[in-house]
Structure formats: C-alpha cells, structure tokens
Amino acid sequence: MHALRKLQQDFLGYLLDDTVVGIVERIESTPRRSAEQRMAFYGNAYKLRLKEALTTDYECLHGYLGDDLFETLMEKYIESYPSHHPSLRYFGQHIAKLVEQQEPFRQLPEVAEIARIELAFGNSFDAADCQCASLEQLAQLDPEAWATLTLRFHGAVQLLPQQYNSFQIWRALSNEEAPPQKTEDETTWLIWRQDLVSQYRALEQAESVALTIALSAGSFADICTALLEYFSEQETPQQAVGYLQRWINDQMVSELNQDQEKKAADCGSF
C-alpha cells in the first residue's frame, strides 16, 4: 500500500506539473517509445480533457476572449484549481474568481460577469426539481398570514447583479452574432427554470430589491417596507402581490411559508 501510494503520488504529481518527473523511473521503456514519451501521453490527455470541459461550459467566454486568451485562461485555471469533484460537470465553477484575481483578465471586468452568466445557466440546467407553489395556494392564505409570509424558491433561481452590458454580450455570442462594445449598464438579471427550460430577464430595480429580500427569507411585510422607496403607500401592497404572483406563475416559488408561531397557535386552537 505504501509503495502504491508513493507511485500514485508521483504519477499525479507529474500530471499536475510535468517538471515533477519522479514517476518516469518507474515506467518501462520500450524500443518504440521511452518512458518519458509514454508518460507525456497521460500529461497531455489530462490537460486536454480539462480544457474540453471548460470549452464546453464556457462557450461564450471562449468566443469573447478568442482562442489565444481563452487558452491562457484555461492554462492558468488548470494550474490554480485542480479538480476536487468526481464529475467534470463541476470543474469550471471557480473560473470567475480566477478572472477577477489574475492579469490580464482583471482589467476586463465584463469577463467575470460573462463567466458568471454561463455558470448560472449551468447551475439552473440541473438544479434540483421541486413541487412549485400555486396561485390557488396563495389565494387560500389566511389574510392574517400575509404579513409574515416568507417564500422558498426553486434552486434554479439566481440573481446576477451586473455593472456592464454583459448579458447583451452573452446573448449575441450565444446567437453566434458579433457582440456589442462593452458599456456600463447597472442591471440585475434573473435566471430561473420553467418546465425544465432555463429562462432569463432583466429586473426593474424595485423587483430586484423585492426578490433579493424574498430570497433571503425576508417576509412579505419586509418586502412592502422596502418597496415604499419606489411606490406610494397605496400602490405598494398591490405591486408586491403582483411580483409574488408572477414569481409563482413562472414556477420560481416552491413553498409559501406562513409564520411558524402563527401556525403553531392555529394548531393549538383546535
């Protein structure tokens, strides 16, 4: 076991850094191929496989950066973030972090945003399935329960606050069109999944604030209080209910949670 572990350490060490060549002396050479050449096959295959996964998951990022810069990004990423998951599906999940930290990418802030868009679509694609709440359930709520109502959301629901027109760039690239020039555009985008298909839309600031509160388990009353910044006292409850109905219609909400204390009191009254 000790000898096998040492061999595996040397082998993996070579894959992660091909200047670490302790493994080569453990490999048989043949007249046709030296041990170095045989190990080089594994070294090349390791990088190729990881690059193939990144190229598949970040197709638009690749299109935006071009072959050379994307190749540089992949090399840096493979070196900095070895895979710690049994599935390649999760290998590229830190790429936006690397882009924000390392030159020359940190000079291009829209690049991290594009990476986050592609990651968010990947996460939405295979997020856990769940039963969705219905408008009927909403209609049946006790009027007194509304103030403390909180929502539980489908795992595919994600908010992406953007500083640039990265979504427009992403959309053009995914349609195989020339992307627009980068411009500042502070918008929050919503990604969710409806009938197994990922969807996206830009949010008005008021809805973005409401959804941010709802996603952090804030209550309907909390949402209404925040919306007073945008609407009159008369308009606010109607606006908040309108958001709620749309989220439910779009299959974003998995559960309507009434206040626990209230529920317990209700049960006790029987």
Binding site: R5, R38, F41, S83, D129
Partner: protein, 297 residues
C-alpha cells in the same frame, strides 16, 4: 454459471435523447454513464426516467477510483446508490484503475501496477463497495499506455485474481484489449484465453485512433475489422455475453450507430448457436436477481 444475457445495447448519449423517445428504436438495453446523472435534477434526470420506462439499463461509472490509495469517497458512493435506486439497473460497473489522489481527480482512467500488493488493496475496496451497494459490481479492463517496472504478472492474471478474491464480475472491453495488446506488445488472444469465463458479464466494443506508434482509445470511430475479429474470438471463448458499443466523440446519428450494433448481432449469430442468443427474462423495471449480493464471509 448461467449468465444473464441482455442482448445488444448502446451507450445512452444526450445527442440521441429525442430520437429515442420519438422512435423507440429496437435496442435491447442502454448503458448510462453514472456521473452524468449524479446531478440534483433538471433535464438529465427527466430524460433518464422517460427512457428508463422503455428500456433496461446498466450503469457504468468512471470515478469510483477503486485502485486509489485515498479512502473510498463516501459521498460518491452515496450518490451512486441513490442513482441505483432510481434507475434499478441490471448491474453497475466501473474500471479497474485509479483516477485521483489527495482528493484531486485526474478525470482519467490510470493504470495500476499488476502485483500482489495492488490485488490485496483493490480486493478489500471492492468488497467494501459491494457490501455498501448490496450487489456485485463489474470491473472493466483498461486501455493503457504505460507499464510499471513493479508489475509482476500479466494483466489478465491481475484481472482474474481480483475478480476471484473480491467475488465481483468482469466487464471485458474488447477494444481495450486490442489497444493495450498493440501498445504493450502482447497477444490479445492470449488475454481472452486467460480470462475466467465465469466472471465475464458484459462486453464493450468501441473505435480507436492510431497516432503512428500507439493506439489511443478515443471512442470516436466505428469499430474496426480487427476488433470485430477479436469480438468473434471472444464469443467463441465465452459464449453469449451482453454486448454494447461505446461512442463518446464524433457521435453519429442514432440509426447509423444502430446499424453498427447490428454488425455485432450478425457476428454473434454467425459465431454462436442461435439458441444461445435468447434474452434472459427481463423487463425494463427488473433488476437481475443473480447479481444480488450477500457476503457470506
């Protein structure tokens, strides 16, 4: 041993989901790549469930890392068992290899040295996995590009010994035998002759690439004539064995792949008595009872 015979199958690939659901093509079974469905939800599992309703399936993994000197990955095993309960496969397989160390995954099927220490190590882990899953697993022979100086036996003796001591089955990849035979200069027929017939439960067939010196197991071409010839030899040696074609790159339209599978059927009919090719009595929802596993030791 009465070996369950599923007939002739194909690897389930995303490119073919719609075709399969629309046309319900005549394929005896599908092999799924387990890791592709070890996800929380969404379309992958939705398609899986729909296709599973119409076809028997087997599960084939690439990340068990049975030969690694890391501890077995309990999260991976938990997810594998969860998927197993969902799919109710005829059986589960992975590779006789290691894929990573120190919690770092190479995502490659890396060869092991063929010696007594490795056998002891792997057998212990196969027993743990089978105990946890409650059934025997199949281990597949690799295609490889290096041999270690501390190997002490042939690959086929290594495979046999692990299968015998761990009481597991063998998934014999005919193309991998051909690839490794070329790369390491051994006789592929000696390999077939050396494998314990009772342990063989499934065959893989696939295409490969030749780079002028080494043959690479790329799964991006049709099965070539020498591999078909080796398949016929394997059938003579082992009898009727559930057979499938793996195609992972340059994936053709489904009818073309189905046509290629019919070559395997024709060779089997020509090579074996026709009555040997009778499907075992299985339904899409059934797990084969012969694989149910209870450790007696």
């Amino acid at each position: 041993m009465r070996r369950p015979f599923l007939g002739f199958g194909l690897g389930l690939r995303t490119e073919h989901y719609s075709y399969i659901l629309e046309h319900k093509p005549a394929v005896d079974w599908f092999e799924i790549l387990s890791e592709n469905y070890m996800v929380p939800g969404g379309k992958p599992l939705d398609y899986l469930d729909k296709i599973r309703n119409d076809y028997p399936m087997v599960m084939h993994g690439v990340s068990l890392s049975i030969g690694s000197t890391d501890a077995l990955n309990s999260d991976y095993l938990k997810n594998l068992k969860k998927l197993m309960r969902r799919v109710q496969p005829q059986w589960i397989s992975d590779h006789l290899c290691w894929t990573g160390l120190n919690n770092t995954n190479s995502h490659d099927l890396l060869p092991l040295p063929y010696n007594e220490d490795t056998i002891t190590h792997v057998v212990d882990r196969v027993v743990q996995v089978q105990d946890y899953l409650g059934q025997r697993i199949l281990l597949e022979n690799l295609s490889s590009y290096v041999t270690y100086k501390n190997s002490e036996m042939t690959e086929w003796d290594f495979v046999n010994e692990i299968a015998r001591r761990a009481d597991c089955h063998i998934l014999l990849d005919i193309n991998n035998i051909f690839v490794s035979a070329h790369n390491h200069q051994f006789d592929p027929e000696s390999y077939l002759a050396g494998i314990d017939s009772d342990r063989v439960m499934q065959f893989h067939l696939a295409g490969h690439s030749y780079n002028g010196e080494m043959i690479i197991d790329t799964h991006d071409h049709d099965v070539c004539d020498p591999v078909w010839a080796l398949y016929a030899t394997a059938l003579k040696r082992f009898g009727a064995v559930s057979t499938m074609i793996e195609r992972d790159d340059d994936i053709p339209e489904f009818p073309q792949l189905r046509q290629e599978l019919s070559i395997a059927e024709d060779i089997a009919v020509r090579t074996l008595q026709a009555d040997a090719l009778v499907l075992s009595d299985i339904s899409p929802q059934q797990t084969h009872t012969e694989l149910n596993y209870a450790r007696t030791a």
